[in-house]
């Protein structure tokens, strides 16, 4: 039997309805049906929604994709020697921080992509698959439901980013000066703030879009917003505007890598754009990681609140 036939057989396997089971054999008292429990706190209910969403992620493709990406990191790192394009995309150095940044140079696109996959249709899926009709009438507030799901998505993407940093650190144990500074930790913090921004923006969009979308938030976060930031300084030739736009939260990952000493990030919109139109635009992303972190958190919180406002008022 071919693999295709086996797969088709597996898909066809549907359990046939059966009524042969015996009915209940416990009395109401034995089944504790007359016991009344007090509802848990709002935080506890939020955590329950969080765990349920995490459990759902473990059975979805996003988890497989993330694991593959993490496994690929060392493979690409060791395989790149001698391959020009990979050496250009993932530059190496004897300085540990720069070497780590080189390994993580895919991060700007990956964070946006993973956030979009994890959050893009998380809420709309609940309504389309009609699972919300089961969860929302339960005695918990919509805020618990909303925040529980968001926290799960944020943990997933944040966890992958943290794991990527960990793997990069392990990979630089050899061939570098092994000088690990606080900049590495600060870079991780900025990256997590950027993850928060990406997740909350995508999550907010998923509350508005009926069918959810992975592509739309990706285009918005990776292309539209950075493009605006790159083009506007051409019309307003003022350094201040250029500097302010450099702190748009969509450049969070660039800032995180800049902190590690990798100033010319290739795989980000800024890097790609400056390669296509070199010298035309003198635009650089913000340099202060604290300001960037604050901007990411505040804008993320704003989008998160907007999303909650939509969900709270939504008639299912």
């Amino acid at each position: 039997m071919s693999r295709k036939e086996k797969k088709a057989k597996k898909v066809k396997k549907t359990i046939v309805d059966s009524y042969d089971e015996s009915s209940r054999d416990l009395t109401d008292h034995q089944a504790h049906r007359d016991v009344v429990y007090a509802l848990p706190s709002k935080m506890s209910q939020t955590m329950q929604c969080y765990f349920v969403q995490m459990k759902r992620y473990t059975r979805q493709r996003v988890m497989v994709l993330s694991s593959v990406l993490l496994i690929l990191m060392p493979v690409i790192y060791y395989a790149r020697k001698g391959i020009y394009i990979l050496e250009w995309l993932l530059p190496t150095s004897a300085v540990t921080n720069i070497a780590i940044a080189g390994i993580l140079s895919f991060m700007p696109i990956l964070i946006v992509l993973l956030s979009c996959i994890a959050c893009g249709s998380i809420l709309s899926q609940e309504f389309n698959e009609r699972t919300a009709f089961l969860s929302l009438p339960l005695p918990m507030s919509r805020s618990s439901f909303y925040m529980g799901k968001f926290l799960a998505a944020f943990t997933l993407v944040g966890g992958i980013v943290a794991a990527a940093y960990g793997i990069a650190m392990l990979l630089t144990m050899t061939g570098t000066d092994r000088t690990y500074t606080w900049d590495l930790f600060r870079s991780l913090m900025v990256s997590l703030c950027f993850v928060f921004f990406c997740c909350s923006t995508t999550y907010m969009l998923s509350t508005k879009l009926k069918r959810g979308s992975t592509m739309l938030p990706f285009i918005l976060l990776f292309i539209v917003l950075p493009l605006i930031a790159e083009i506007v300084p051409v019309f307003f030739k003022m350094d201040v505007i250029s500097k302010i736009l450099g702190y748009l939260p969509c450049f969070g990952a660039d800032v995180a890598l800049n902190m590690l000493g990798y100033t010319n990030v290739v795989i980000s919109f800024n890097g790609i754009f400056s390669n296509f139109v070199p010298g035309l635009i003198d635009f650089s992303v913000g340099g202060n990681p604290i300001i960037m972190s604050i901007v990411c958190i505040l804008s993320g919180a704003l989008f998160l609140f907007l999303g909650y406002y939509v969900v709270k008022r939504r008639d299912v």
């Binding site: 396997k13 549907t14 359990i15 046939v16 309805d17 059966s18 009524y19 042969d20 089971e21 015996s22 009915s23 209940r24 054999d25 416990l26 109401d28 034995q30 089944a31 504790h32 049906r33 007359d34 016991v35 009344v36 429990y37 007090a38 509802l39 848990p40 706190s41 709002k42 506890s44 209910q45 329950q48 349920v52 459990k55 759902r56 059975r59 979805q60 698959e129 009609r130 699972t131 009709f133 089961l134 929302l136 009438p137 339960l138 005695p139 918990m140 507030s141 008022r313 008639d315 299912v316």
Partner: protein, 392 residues
């Protein structure tokens, strides 16, 4: 166990000693506190701070009931909907609708498509927010307090469980939201899954189940918190006849547990079989409400004409046919087959009894006398026709 407070008896349920009351969402509360061997009710105007103060003393609060300012709410009622209105833009889906479901009552919510049944049920469960009106579940305002849904089970618009979860995992999710311990969840999960005959499928993915099985899992989820009010919106829609019968059987078992039920359905047989009362709505307004049998009886009295079918053993002679045709109130006589006749009858109960006497006078043996015309279907048709005429 019953406690007496201000002349108002209150049923006290068995409370788990480990459970902690959640005061966060109620401003006014009735508290049940054990002092010595007795149980006492504290005043209904007690606020959260007072309750917290009680807890710091030797008095331990073991339960509470959030209350609203309206003192007449929830007396003997599981559900009290008052002047509910829901507008979607310019369209009014529910218009000033009032509904009362007593404790232990099974009520059917009937109406044609677009009448506002689902909107009413969604408003009650908080899936949509009402434009106007109040909804009290067991005396608690469900719009203001989400914990009003603690003792409510519902199946609204064929909900789906997470397809990559098993029934046991769904029970765990619902149980933890209700604050049950793991041990308790295991006991109750087994109980409700056995009740809906899904216990043997407890570890299979719900995504692999048939529609009927998924619906039974939804019903198990609804029954998991041991609700005293169950809300069902077309629970048998899309099921095969066997699935329908199974779901109905499960719903009938709720009667034994003194639960209240509000069921919205298009299947009139379900209402006549299960419900004690019914409310019929059209264009978001109540057309009629009351006891099912009384409403049908009233219809029969108003309509007068019913169709009667007789099945007898023996030869139907021409004399018998002419005699029965000559009886007062009999019209449209029709011979259906061997030993079977059908006719319209418009007369009193005595005259109807005379027909039976006539059968025996002709030495025929009566097998069956079926009276149709005054049933829930004719009531439904009459009321919807009237509503249609009124609109025209």
């Amino acid at each position: 166990m019953t406690a007496q407070t201000s002349g108002c008896p209150l049923h006290l349920e068995r409370l788990k000693s480990s459970s902690k009351p959640n005061f966060s969402r109620c401003s006014l509360a009735q508290a049940i506190v054990p002092i010595g061997n007795d149980l006492f009710m504290l005043g209904s105007k007690m606020n959260v701070l007072n309750l917290m103060f009680c807890r710091t003393r030797d008095i331990q609060v073991i339960g509470f009931t959030p209350m609203d300012d309206d003192s007449d709410i929830g007396q003997g009622l599981s559900l009290d909907v008052r002047n509910l209105t829901k507008r979607f833009g310019n369209f009014t889906a529910v218009d000033n609708l009032s509904l009362k479901v007593k404790k232990g009552e099974f009520m059917g919510l009937l109406g044609p498509n677009g009448a506002g049944k689902s909107t009413t049920l969604k408003s009650i469960t908080g899936l949509i927010s009402p434009t106007k009106g109040k909804i009290y579940i067991n005396g608690i305002d469900s719009v203001k307090h989400r914990n009003a849904m603690t003792h409510v089970g519902c199946v609204i618009e064929t909900p789906e469980s997470y397809p990559n979860f098993t029934p046991t995992e769904m029970m765990q999710y619902v149980g933890r939201i209700h604050g049950l311990s793991n041990k308790e969840i295991k006991i109750r999960a087994r109980d409700v899954l056995e009740e809906v005959r899904m216990w043997s499928w407890r570890d299979k993915n719900i995504g692999e189940f048939s529609k009927g099985m998924r619906q039974r899992v939804s019903l198990a989820v609804a029954m998991f918190p041991n609700p005293n009010l169950v809300l069902l919106d077309e629970p048998t829609s899309g099921l095969d006849p066997r699935g329908m019968i199974e779901i109905r059987r499960t719903m009938n078992s709720l009667k034994k547990r003194d639960m209240s039920l509000l069921i919205s359905t298009h299947i009139l047989k379900e209402v006549s079989e299960m419900c004690t009362s019914m409310t019929m709505i059209n264009h978001g307004k109540t057309i009629i409400s009351g006891d099912v049998n009384k409403l049908i009886h009233n219809l029969a009295q108003n309509e007068n004409t019913v169709a009667i079918e007789l099945r007898m053993l023996g030869d139907l002679t021409n004399k018998f046919i002419s005699d029965i045709n000559a009886m007062t109130g009999v019209s449209n006589f029709e011979k259906m087959g061997e030993g079977s006749v059908k006719f319209s009858f418009n007369g009193t109960d005595d005259q109807q009894a005379d027909i039976v006497d006539l059968v025996y006078a002709h030495k025929l043996r009566l097998l069956c006398m079926n009276e149709t015309g005054a049933d829930i279907e004719s009531l439904y048709m009459k009321l919807t026709d009237e509503a249609r005429v009124n609109i025209k």
